[in-house]
């Protein structure tokens, strides 16, 4: 945690995805930065995106000793191109994971910081 990421972590403690957003040009910024990469404003606020996302890419995480492989996703949020949250894709396997799949946000973990996770919507 640092001065730029504190609000993000506070959001995780309440199961809320809370991302930095420029108060002037409205650019979403994640990972958070101290100033806006687009307009250089220091007026950085925080807002909650809708949680809608698309799978931009993924990695079948190298198998930990004794553990099952997990699929980690690069979830591109609906709010802005390349606004990416890296999080597990629940119930996905190397066979079922699909780049471009619609994702919905859920939460797991026991706190104090909860883990944002995504689930692939069934293919229609």
């Amino acid at each position: 945690m640092d001065h730029d990421t504190r609000t993000y972590w506070e959001g995780l403690a309440e199961r809320k995805l809370t991302l930095a957003r420029c108060g002037d040009c409205r650019q979403w910024i994640h990972p958070p930065k101290g100033c806006c990469p687009a307009c250089w404003s220091d007026n950085i606020g925080h807002e909650q995106p809708s949680g809608e996302a698309t799978l931009f890419s993924y990695l079948v995480q190298p198998i930990a000793p004794g553990g099952a492989p997990t699929v980690v996703g690069w979830a591109e949020l609906a709010e802005q191109p390349r606004l990416i949250v890296v999080a597990p894709i629940l119930d996905a396997t190397a066979e079922t994971v699909r780049i471009g799949a619609k994702l919905t946000l859920e939460w797991t973990g026991d706190g104090p910081y909860f883990q944002p996770v995504f689930r692939q919507e069934a293919q229609s």
Binding site: H30, S57, L59, I84, V86, Q115
Partner: protein
């Protein structure tokens, strides 16, 4: 002579390496000094004349800084020193800049790698391999991905490449098998005695699908170094000099290792175009391409950038593949990584690519010699830590 302060004015005049092995039986500091001593001896420059010293310092693993090397080798006239970020070509390009600017007359540039206990289960059993504690998080984003195991964005970037362009695992295989076959002709390579066929490659278990252990550079104990001076001073030294045509590195916007590893190509392309702009050359002016292969997937995108074929590396690799020799020959003429690359020679983070360029341009590459090699393209690294250069025979 051109007005460019680097082109034809800076020369590499010595190269040296420690033994490259899985277990060198020496500390990382001793390995660095092995390479630096060998490079200075190779150059013929007296020890007292060495006045510049540049290493690679830190990233994911501990390294050795110039103060250690100066103290260990009794180098007491250093008036320019530097620690560059990996990859290895960065310490070389810093030395090139320092000599061009007159900051020093004879620069030694080195890098040392070690099979620390962070590398493997086997290394964890060896008390000589305990890495000093230290943190490295220059993009300040690791805490945000720790809960999901700090996943490697470079692997996700290759998944996206396969999705967008239909790139396949056998395309990576052509890169890996090419480098491993060349390594069989390199006595120093850790894979010198370990042939690998395309069938072996395709049958390998996947560690991070679609990548297998063969797609990841070989962790070793090893160090390499070069000596750099002006072209003028080089003419008075006994060995054959190799001249610098141009060097560059590049960052093209989004570069966070963990969140935004998808635009690596843009930085590669920016770097390559800079080299062409500085020299007026294009890829067909090169006689050898030593393309960085820390992961085979990084090499694939470097190839796209060097040959200006975004999204078409698969086709280019198919067209350039000679199944009989198990090697690549681009445009019917240009070989790649004749030393074996990081994948075959061992992981000194791209330093071998510079060393082999020098050997080839001196005509010292033995059975690997590319006939008439006059110009070599070297690329190193990924986004945002990368470097590239064009070297020519002096």
């Amino acid at each position: 002579m051109s007005a460019d302060p680097i082109r034809d004015k800076v020369a590499i005049v010595g190269i040296g390496a420690s033994k490259l092995s899985r277990d060198g039986g020496r500390s990382i500091g001793a390995l660095a000094c092995d390479a630096v001593r060998a490079a200075i001896r190779d150059s013929g420059v007296p020890r007292e004349a060495i006045d510049g010293l540049s290493g690679i310092y830190s990233t994911d693993q501990p390294t050795v800084w110039p103060g250690y090397v100066a103290e260990s080798l009794g180098l007491s006239n250093i008036v320019w020193s530097n620690c560059a970020t990996p990859p290895s070509a960065n310490t070389v390009s810093e030395g090139i800049l320092a000599v061009a600017a007159g900051a020093c007359d004879y620069a030694v540039c080195y890098h040392a790698k070690f099979r620390w206990d962070t590398v493997s289960a086997a290394a964890r059993k060896d008390p000589m391999r305990r890495a000093p504690k230290g943190a490295f998080d220059p993009a300040l984003s690791i805490p945000l991905v720790e809960s999901v195991g700090v996943p490697n964005g470079m692997f996700a970037a290759f998944q996206r490449h396969m999705h967008l362009y239909g790139t396949r695992r056998d395309h990576l295989g052509r890169i890996v098998v090419n480098n491993r076959n060349w390594a069989l002709q390199n006595d120093q390579a850790v894979c010198h005695d370990a042939p690998l066929t395309m069938d072996d490659y395709m049958a390998a278990p996947l560690i991070a699908p679609p990548l297998s252990a063969f797609d990841m550079d070989m962790p070793i104990d090893g160090a390499m170094a070069v000596v750099i001076t002006s072209a003028e001073r080089a003419a008075d030294l006994p060995g054959k000099r190799v001249l610098v045509e141009a060097s560059a590195n590049a960052i093209a916007g989004k570069s966070d290792f963990f969140f935004q590893a998808f635009d690596t190509y843009d930085s590669y392309r920016l770097l390559i175009q800079r080299l062409w702009d500085k020299t007026g050359y294009g890829i067909d002016d090169m006689d050898l391409v030593n393309i960085y292969d820390g992961f085979s997937s990084l090499a694939l995108e470097w190839i796209e950038a060097a040959f200006d074929v975004r999204g078409e590396a698969g086709r280019l690799l198919e067209d350039s593949w000679d199944a009989k020799t198990g090697r690549l020959l681009f445009n019917g003429r240009i070989p790649m990584c004749t030393h074996g690359g990081n994948l075959g020679e061992g992981r000194v983070q791209g330093f071998g690519h510079v060393m082999e360029a020098v050997r080839q341009l001196r005509g010292d590459a033995g059975s690997r010699q590319v006939a008439g090699a006059a110009r070599v393209l070297v690329t190193n690294g990924n986004n945002p830590v990368n470097a590239g250069m064009i070297l020519r025979a002096g």
